[in-house]
């Protein structure tokens, strides 16, 4: 078993990746029900693709050149990508609420613009003397091999900060998600709640990206909650199930990655899809 060697063998090379994966899976499992219930899957998709633009920008700024090999995304680059994602989330919100552009159009425009900008900036970066080759495949589909201790610490810090933010905002968040117009009329600052969730979502995507890649980060944010909602109509159970299914799916997907040496993103996504289909079938048999 390569997995046991990777985790407990000499050097325990994949321990930071596994610890980061646990934090990311818990974070996504926690966020997933509200993403599904508020129909924010496409926003997640737009914001995660915006990360690609952020990576291009970080590369041009030279933030990947220091210790890039074998130590994952440097902190400075993560900061730029995070700022790019948060900015994109806020631009989507602004475009759809103030400019008369529908939300899905705003997301579609931003998604394409970020991908194109990211590729162009990476080309600029490569054409420079001394520009390191950043694996586009790793960015798109994730890469655990380069996840270091720093990334694992950042993932756990983001998980704890997000959990505290969600706990503090739990009552207005629930009301906003259930009935936004009424929440607003009864004094919930719905704009602030939405902005808070978008920021948490954007930061979650940045840490998820390392594991699942830009393209498949949304799978981790959507599928655990979608599966949990097939299994229960009680909120507390939905949240617990989402976290458990998210963790289990990420663990199984990661083990498959370790054993096959394939990128983790597609494995995790396929496990999640299998879990969702199983949950859907279970629900249909209960009717």
């Amino acid at each position: 078993m390569r997995t046991l060697d990777y985790l407990f063998g000499p050097g325990a090379t994949m321990q930071p990746a596994a610890l980061a994966a646990v934090a990311v899976a818990l974070l996504c499992g926690l966020l997933s029900p509200v993403v599904v219930l508020k129909r924010m899957a496409f926003i997640g998709q737009g914001v995660s693709h915006a990360a690609f633009g952020g990576i291009g920008l970080a590369a041009v700024l030279g933030l990947f050149s220091v210790g890039a090999a074998g130590s994952g995304t440097p902190l400075g680059a993560m900061g730029v990508v995070g700022a790019f994602c948060i900015g994109s989330a806020l631009v989507i919100g602004f475009l759809s609420s103030k400019s008369g552009v529908s939300e899905d159009t705003a997301i579609g425009v931003l998604l394409v613009a970020s991908m194109a900008l990211g590729f162009l900036l990476l080309q600029v970066h490569r054409s420079r003397p001394g520009g390191s080759a950043i694996s586009v495949e790793s960015v798109l589909f994730g890469d655990v091999a380069t996840t270091g201790v720093t990334q694992a610490v950042v993932a756990w810090a983001v998980l704890l900060a997000s959990a505290v933010a969600l706990f503090i905002a739990r009552r207005p968040l629930l009301f906003w998600a259930f009935d936004e117009p009424m929440a607003e009329s009864l004094g919930v600052r719905t704009g602030a709640v939405r902005a808070m969730l978008m920021v948490v979502l954007a930061i979650a995507i940045v840490v998820t990206m390392q594991l699942a890649g830009v393209i498949l980060a949304t799978a981790m944010l959507v599928l655990p909650g979608a599966a949990a909602l097939q299994l229960s109509r009680r909120l507390s159970r939905v949240i617990v199930l989402s976290v458990i299914l998210g963790l289990a799916g990420a663990a199984i997907g990661l083990v498959i990655s370790f054993e096959t040496d394939w990128q983790p993103g597609p494995n995790i996504a396929m496990v999640y899809i299998a879990v969702f289909i199983a949950a859907r079938l279970y629900r249909s048999t209960r009717r």
Partner: protein, 303 residues
């Protein structure tokens, strides 16, 4: 049009010559003067696009009138909103039915706004929530997910949520839309019980004359939703005179097509004493609140 006579009770809602126009459009409402006494139930009916939503938004403080003033128990709509004077029951379509929350969780959402995130829900709010659920007759299913409820039951969840903030004025927006006759009747009975408690002032906005009037909905014993009816199509036709709301007024408000939409319906609103007039009783069915109906006369069609 004459203003309602002064009574000993204080006015709950006062609209004084209110006008509002959306930018670049003709006035949505104009010259609206309205006085609802504390504890009274008023229904405002009118066709779609007649200004009902605008009037509601003005009352809830979501729009500011271009002219005139609004007072709810002596304060502005904005102050009334922040002081939780108004409990608002929206059309049920605005809430997410598939959301995994129980009746009790849904009802408590309004009452727990503004609580410290570090504290558990206070005992007083839990009791207020339970009491509201009981008042709308849903205690037996308080722990059931809202997705498992009928349309009428869900409407009463929204009503309980509004009651849980202990409002003095209850505003219902199209309470009969998408609810079957039995659900409408249960809702009317709940509203009647709330009215009997004598604390709440109610304003009901609807396009559905038949359901609001009561007997048109479920036979002569069906509960009406209101004591008085006012008709709105940009201007308000508010009658407290013995003549009540005449077929001509209704025909004007509904552009002569009321009978085509609702069947052969005649609705008059007037004070309850007038129902004791023997000359008035012939050919009509009455209820104790003064809404008076007659399905045999096609008076609207001829209006």
């Amino acid at each position: 049009m004459s203003p309602p006579p002064e009574t000993e009770s204080s006015p709950a809602i006062v609209f004084d010559r209110i006008g509002y126009a959306y930018p670049g459009h003709q006035p949505a409402v104009e010259g609206i003067s309205l006085r609802v006494q504390a504890g009274e139930r008023l229904a405002i009916i009118g066709p779609n696009g007649g200004g009902k939503s605008t009037l509601l938004k003005l009352l809830l403080g979501e729009l500011t009138p271009r002219s005139g003033s609004i007072r709810v128990f002596g304060v502005t709509p904005g102050e009334a909103r922040s002081q939780r004077v108004i409990g608002y029951v929206p059309q049920r379509s605005e809430a997410e039915r598939s959301f995994p929350v129980s009746v009790r969780q849904a009802v408590s959402m309004g009452a727990t706004v503004g609580l410290s995130p570090w504290h558990r829900t206070p005992r007083a709010i839990i009791e207020s929530v339970d009491q509201s659920i009981e008042r709308v007759g849903l205690s037996a299913i308080a722990d059931r997910p809202v997705g498992a409820l009928s349309g009428g039951q869900f409407q009463r969840v929204l009503l309980a949520r509004a009651l849980a903030v202990k409002p003095r004025v209850l505003v219902l927006d199209e309470p009969t839309v998408g609810i079957d006759a039995a659900g409408q009747e249960q809702l009317a009975q709940v509203l009647d019980r709330l009215h009997a408690d004598g604390e709440l002032t109610m304003l009901i906005v609807s396009h559905d004359v038949r359901a609001i009037a009561g007997p048109q909905r479920g036979g002569p014993d069906a509960k009406p939703f209101c004591d008085r009816v006012a008709c709105l199509r940009r201007t308000l036709h508010f009658h407290d005179s013995p003549e009540g709301i005449t077929p001509q007024v209704l025909a004007h408000v509904f552009e002569h097509d009321l009978s085509a939409v609702f069947g052969q319906v005649h609705v008059e609103a007037h004070t309850a004493e007038d129902c004791n007039d023997p000359a008035h009783a012939s050919g009509h069915t009455h209820d104790h609140h003064g809404a008076c109906t007659d399905e045999h006369h096609d008076r609207l069609g001829g209006a």
